[in-house]
């Protein structure tokens, strides 16, 4: 299964395209419904974080690829996850809390050039 690559506008404000394309790609890998829902939600939370806090209008890049026994999704933006927006600190933290709960490995790489969020987990195959 080739990797999936898509870009999402920083002001998209809707997960519609991500939901549709990532879910279809995960179906191609044979992922069951629950795994697909968990991974799509985690990827969206990563994108939402970037939209709210990256302080950049550059598109957000999403790459999904199969890894040994599972899948990884990498979300990259050109911003630095500034503290801004209306959400309280507790609310902001919850996006990452969800990602950490639903995915088995989460790595955040913050650089001047942008932020990269990598999330991976094993896949339950549909029966």
């Amino acid at each position: 299964m080739p990797a999936l690559s898509l870009t999402i506008s920083a002001d998209a404000g809707t997960p519609a395209e991500l939901r549709q394309r990532l879910d279809k790609w995960l179906q191609g890998l044979g992922a069951d419904e629950r795994s697909r829902a968990d991974i799509v939600l985690s990827a969206w939370e990563g994108c939402a974080n970037a939209m709210e806090h990256a302080g950049s209008t550059e598109p957000i890049r999403v790459d999904a690829f199969a890894s040994a026994g599972g899948v990884c999704v990498r979300i990259r933006d050109k911003g630095r996850w500034l503290d801004r927006g209306n959400a309280t600190r507790a609310e902001r933290g919850h996006g990452l809390t969800i990602i950490r709960r639903l995915m088995s490995r989460v790595e955040i790489d913050r650089r001047d050039s942008g932020t990269s969020l990598l999330m991976c987990r094993s896949l339950e195959r549909a029966a």
Binding site: P15, W44, T97, I98
Partner: protein
């Protein structure tokens, strides 16, 4: 007996991009009602921003002295996230609108006593 419980349906997607719109709709639909039932049965997708909007709706209902109950059947995809973020600790969650209506209505009458 008159039932003045407001039943408001949130269907489709409740996320970062739609929470403001839904909060506005729920607020106007629930205005003045002693009890409010939020029906999430047709909700396909919810994110952490959506769950926090529900927390705010609960708090707002509390501050107006009205009682809120949720409908979110166990098999729905939203249910797990609501529980993961412990929304079920601040508001009762029901399988059907009737059950939620009974709970919210009874509770609000109890409060008045």
């Amino acid at each position: 007996m008159t039932d003045d419980t407001a039943v408001v349906t949130i269907a489709g997607e409740l996320h970062l991009g739609t929470v403001a719109e839904w909060e506005g709709r729920v607020e106007s639909a629930a205005a003045g009602a002693p009890a409010v039932v939020l029906d999430l049965t047709e909700l396909d997708f919810i994110d952490s921003a959506g769950v926090h909007a529900l927390f705010r709706m609960v708090a707002k209902a509390d501050s107006h002295g009205s009682r809120l109950a949720l409908v979110c059947p166990r098999e729905r995809p939203a249910r797990r996230l609501l529980q993961t973020l412990s929304l079920d600790t601040v508001v009762p969650m029901h399988e059907t609108v009737d059950a939620a209506r009974a709970s919210a209505g009874t509770a609000s009458r109890n409060v008045e006593r």
